[in-house]
């Protein structure tokens, strides 16, 4: 998995508190960005090994004259080492925004850099690509867009074989993609989708992870549903992505995370999910879910929630497709191991990432809504009590319970007795009308299908619990109806 970047300055000497603080700040910034629909992140690939070798030399700010000299040396130097060295110095200088600004304003600088990128000296190519990569990571649009003349070459090089070089090109492209629609308007006609489709057949994990990153950036673009996803769906990319998500010994977590997110962006855009289903997406994702649940039991701290999140989302959204019912006959979709896996993941999320619990419960809703089979599994696997434990997290728990109860007496019988009643009495004490409303719905179903439920309810001071809400507009009618049923049967 991604393990090589240090954005900006190395936080080596930060204390734990400082790191936490930095994370909180970043998180707040990201939330704000998302609300403004400006959620953009770039990746910076800096070779740790190289960094170590250059340790002690701080990146300098170079002026015009110095940059010109480096470029001249790189282009026309006589000694190979000298030319490489010049580019290396330039590259390090380009870690500084000031140098970046000066560089792009210098006439002919990009042209020269592109010339070096396409030169017949492999090591100059590599260094030139690293320079471009630094530029692509800039927060200044002008700097990033200065890289545009290089894109046709970056794409051409994706069909090469040098894995390090391709990886670099991919991360650079990923950064460029996310910069602006203008950049994408150039990359799309230049054939980025077919280039990626060819490149995804690479056997190198580093290349695949980089490709996944670049593709996820492309798919996350605002205009993706109209302008990008259709051509992606028309390519061989989806089949390869699904293959890379197959559980098994070859599954690589870092690669899987990227492609799971790619799949999520495609699916939630609702362009042509039926196609994905015919390509086996439901089946693959279902198996992946099982695999994940197994993995969380084995490994401690592996970032599995980063994969769990998009998998949960993809499955949930796909289940809403009409085409999903057609393949409902497939074992995966009635396999009670799916429910078992989901609960194991819910437990994991409860500890690791509670903010993702609603997403897990969303899947549970979609699994149980129209499926007697999964509702039965919930009951036969004894999962009602653990489910009740999550009541405080989300009222989707109540919805799921309603999904089960509405299927009739055979189901309600298995819901009763047990902790359900006391949990319901608890929720009736909430002031949240949504929660109370759902509780009332559930009560109606229980009263209807389970003899003795109303009695037990009365005995536990249920009426008093109901009374609180007699005056609430959205709840009154239902409260009165329940009171009637409880008292008069």
């Amino acid at each position: 998995m991604w393990s090589r970047q240090r954005g900006g300055l190395k936080p080596l000497r930060c204390g734990v508190e400082q790191l936490r603080c930095r994370r909180r700040e970043r998180e707040a910034a990201l939330r704000k960005a998302r609300r403004e629909q400006q959620l953009v992140s770039k990746r910076l690939l800096r070779d740790e090994a190289l960094e170590e070798a250059e340790e002690g030399c701080v990146a300098m700010i170079f002026g015009e004259a110095e940059i010109q000299q480096f470029l001249r040396l790189a282009q026309r130097g006589t000694e190979e080492k000298e030319r490489e060295g010049a580019l290396v110095s330039l590259r390090r200088g380009l870690q500084r925004p000031e140098t970046q600004q000066t560089f792009i304003r210098l006439e002919g600088s990009i042209r020269t850099l592109v010339g070096l990128l396409t030169s017949n000296q492999a090591l100059l190519q590599l260094e030139a690509a690293r320079c471009l990569h630094e530029l692509s990571h800039s927060e200044q649009s002008a700097v990033v867009e200065a890289c545009l003349p290089a894109t046709s070459y970056l794409l051409t090089y994706l069909s090469g074989h040098s894995s390090d070089f391709i990886e670099l090109c991919l991360y650079t492209l990923g950064n460029l993609i996310v910069e602006s629609e203008a950049v994408r308007r150039q990359l799309l006609p230049q054939g980025i989708v077919p280039a990626l489709a060819a490149c995804i057949q690479s056997p190198h994990l580093t290349v695949l992870e980089a490709l996944g990153y670049a593709l996820s950036q492309l798919l996350q673009a605002k205009e993706a549903p109209e302008k990008i996803i259709p051509s992606v769906l028309g390519s061989t990319l989806p089949q390869h992505m699904l293959q890379l998500l197959q559980p098994g010994p070859k599954l690589n977590l870092g690669v899987a995370v990227e492609f799971a997110w790619c799949l999520h962006y495609i699916i939630c855009s609702q362009v042509n999910n039926a196609l994905l289903i015919t390509q086996g997406a439901l089946s693959t994702l279902g198996l992946l879910l099982l695999d994940l649940a197994g993995a969380v039991q084995r490994t401690e701290d592996a970032g599995l929630e980063l994969l769990a999140c998009p998998v949960l989302r993809c499955l949930s959204n796909l289940l809403t497709e009409a085409a999903a019912e057609a393949v409902g006959g497939q074992l995966q979709l009635r396999d009670e191991r799916v429910v078992a896996a989901l609960f194991i993941l819910l437990q994991f999320l409860l500890q690791k990432q509670p903010s993702l619990l609603p997403e897990g419960l969303w899947l549970l809703n979609n699994l149980t809504a129209n499926s007697p089979s999964f509702c039965t599994s919930l009951l036969s696997l004894d999962l009602i009590e653990p489910l009740l434990h999550l009541l405080s997290v989300s009222n989707v728990v109540l919805t799921v319970l309603c999904n089960v109860a509405e299927k009739g007496p055979a189901y309600c019988q298995r819901l009763w007795p047990g902790p359900l009643l006391s949990s319901l009495l608890d929720t009736l004490a909430f002031s949240d009308t949504e929660v109370v409303g759902q509780s009332l719905e559930l009560l109606q179903l229980l009263f209807l299908y389970q003899p003795g439920a109303a009695q037990a309810f009365l005995q536990q001071s249920g009426l008093q619990a109901l009374q609180r809400h007699e005056e609430v507009a959205q709840l009154q009618d239902r409260v009165h109806a329940l009171q009637q049923t409880a008292l008069h049967g």
Binding site: W2, R4, G7, R23, L30, R31, L39, S41, R43, A49, A53, T118, N120, Q121, A122, P149, S152, Y153, Y157, S159, F165, P189, Q190, P194, A195, A198, L205, Y213, P225, N252, G254, G294, T299, G303, T320, D335, R337, A340, A341, S355, W362, C375, S377, L381, D382, L383, H389, C402, E406, K407, G408, P409, Y411, L440, E441, Q444, L445, L448, Y449, A481
Partner: protein, 265 residues
């Protein structure tokens, strides 16, 4: 949250499930004032529901989350310094002291090399196209009667009558730069005078060319200039001009004379 102990075992067990309980609905269920009906829920891209997960994703991208997957599955190869070694490919005497550097060198310069004219290409695709257009006499024959020049962009199936038409297509349709280095028309100059050959190189690479390694010390560039002679013959004089990464145009027209050839470019 306590999970039943049998659950983990169930996960590891065989696929399958218990027979679903019979469904039996009462028409009174979910009727006014009640309204519950099971519903599949879907969320579109921009929904707030996704905020938390999206933020986590981006924290990971920005490496604020430094969590990585257990033992590195692909440890970054360190730039291991090794005793200097020379590239083993015949005619290349590039020296290296790090394996990584060698990998890229090999792939960039020796992997996709045209066996006829020794030009190196960034990809197999471009190499194949080059061989077809430069060294295949059948291509020349067919090209007189039909559109044979394939668009260079992978996935684009357009073909053109001339390389110039193709170039125009690349620029207009695919927004390629007009001086795209892998699509330079080659101007063959017949018997080479070192200066002329350098000029060819210059044109091939555009204005800000990387200067040739035409250095008296440089003896490894024994790469042959593409032959204007009929396919099969090859001029054997050596140059100090290294193999260009050049997808040139103006493929030799087989049996035609040099003069006529130039006109077509």
């Amino acid at each position: 949250m306590q999970l039943p102990p049998a659950l983990h075992a169930r996960l590891a067990g065989a696929p399958g499930s218990a027979e679903p309980l019979p469904v039996e609905r009462d028409p009174a269920a979910g009727t006014t004032p009640f309204s519950f009906a099971p519903r599949l829920v879907r969320f579109p891209r921009e929904h707030d529901f996704f905020e938390d997960g999206d933020v986590q994703r981006h924290l990971y991208l920005q490496d604020v989350l430094t969590q990585v997957g257990g033992a590195p599955e692909r440890p970054r190869r360190p730039s291991a310094r090794v005793p200097e070694f020379t590239c083993q490919v015949a005619g290349c005497c590039q020296v290296f002291d790090a394996l990584e550097d060698y990998e890229h060198h090999y792939h960039a310069l020796h992997r996709n090399v045209c066996s006829f004219c020794k030009r190196a290409f960034p990809s197999g695709h471009l190499l194949d196209t080059h061989i077809l257009e430069w060294h295949d006499s059948l291509f020349q024959i067919l090209a007189e009667r039909q559109d044979m020049y394939q668009c260079l962009v992978e996935g684009c199936t357009e073909k053109f009558r001339t390389s110039r038409d193709r170039k125009e297509h690349l620029v207009m349709r695919h927004l390629y730069p007009a001086d795209f280095r892998f699509d330079k028309p080659r101007r063959s100059r017949g018997p080479a005078v070192p200066g002329a050959a350098e000029q060819v190189l210059a044109e091939a690479l555009g204005d800000d060319r990387v200067p040739s390694e035409g250095d008296a010390m440089e003896v490894c560039s024994e790469h042959v200039e593409p032959s204007p002679e009929p396919a099969g013959e090859r001029r054997a004089y050596s140059h100090r001009i290294p193999s260009t990464i050049c997808f040139g145009q103006g493929a030799s027209r087989g049996f035609k004379s040099a003069k006529k050839r130039n006109k077509h470019q």
